[in-house]
């Protein structure tokens, strides 16, 4: 437990208290929403938890860094970027996942590419996006997002 954990929980509790004072029904509604999305997320959390345990327990850091570490160069960054674009993990869980990859030899660029493509590009939501925004905007947005995600990743790797 550290300070951030305490602060974030404090904010949530205070927010809830204010909500209850202002409008009881709306506050209850938000708790229900929170509960629903929490329950929806639990299976994914468990999958990631087991995945990380296996990955870090079996794959030695030297192997991991060969694929997505500094030595892997731009190929590793592109690879992780594609994985992030195709996968559908909630961003919230991607941060701890990214942190443990980073600790075990992944490069900053690879981790940044993963988070950015994961959040910005949605292969699974493409049909819906095309339906609502049209083919042109959707394909341009997702395609260019991939390019800028790689650029962001490389710049971050150079700076950090």
């Amino acid at each position: 437990m550290n300070v951030t954990v305490i602060i974030i929980n404090l904010i949530a509790v205070i927010g809830l208290l204010i909500a209850f004072v202002k409008d009881r029904n709306k506050a209850i509604q938000s708790i229900k929403m929170a509960g629903k999305s929490f329950i929806k997320m639990i299976p994914m959390v468990l999958v990631i938890v087991v995945f990380i345990g296996l990955l870090l327990g079996f794959v030695p850091p030297s192997q991991l860094s060969k694929f997505i570490g500094e030595q892997s160069g731009i190929g590793g960054v592109l690879f992780v970027g594609v994985v992030g674009a195709v996968m559908h993990i909630p961003a919230l869980i991607s941060f701890p996942l990214a942190a443990s990859l980073l600790e075990h030899g992944a490069s900053v660029s690879a981790v940044a590419a993963f988070i950015t493509t994961l959040t910005m590009i949605g292969i699974s939501t493409l049909p819906l996006e095309i339906k609502e925004l049209g083919k042109k905007v959707t394909l341009l947005r997702n395609g260019m997002s991939f390019v800028i995600a790689i650029m962001i990743a490389l710049i971050m790797g150079a700076i950090l």
């Binding site: 954990v5 938000s30 929170a34 999305s37 345990g53 939501t125 710049i155």
Partner: protein
């Protein structure tokens, strides 16, 4: 899950480290996940969609860009909720650049999420990624708008093709 059980069965000596890594990770996530969910819930209920459409539909220029980013970062729900909002914005005549910026910030920047990123990846990582993302998203939004306008003009005047 099956693979996990099989792997652990074949390599029982790894069981301890796998279980302890998984457990630590699980605890770390559980410290923050409920609080983040509560925040998302509060925002979701208190910031109604029509308000977003109302404000983003009529602002343009730099103000529009700032507004699109601001509204995008509000933790109001998953990406698929943003698409119908964006569609409503197009009908209202909002600029394509603002819509792209809105969708993209909605997708990748959420206030509670940034706290989680800070928690796990550190301040400089979070700040740098956030800054770069905002800069590039704005450039991308303006560029896509240019391309779409150029393309519309080209297709509406077939004699010039």
């Amino acid at each position: 899950m099956f693979i996990a059980i099989i792997l652990l069965f074949v390599f029982p000596d790894r069981k301890e480290s796998v279980v302890s890594i998984s457990w630590d990770f699980f605890i770390e996530v559980m410290y923050i996940l409920p609080a983040v969910m509560v925040m998302l819930g509060l925002f979701g209920v208190w910031v109604p969609k029509h308000l977003i459409v109302k404000y983003l539909g009529k602002t343009s220029g730099i103000k529009g860009i700032i507004f699109a980013i601001f509204l995008g970062t509000l933790p109001t729900g998953p990406l698929y909720i943003a698409f119908p909002i964006a569609a409503a914005l197009i009908k209202k005549g909002a600029k394509i650049s603002n819509i792209v910026i809105f969708i993209s910030t909605w997708a990748c920047i959420k206030l509670p999420q940034e706290i989680v990123e800070f928690q796990f990846l550190g301040f400089s990582f979070m700040l740098l990624r956030l800054t770069l993302t905002i800069i590039f998203v704005i450039i991308m939004g303006l560029l896509i708008e240019k391309i779409i306008i150029w393309d519309d003009r080209r297709t509406s005047k077939p004699e010039t093709v």
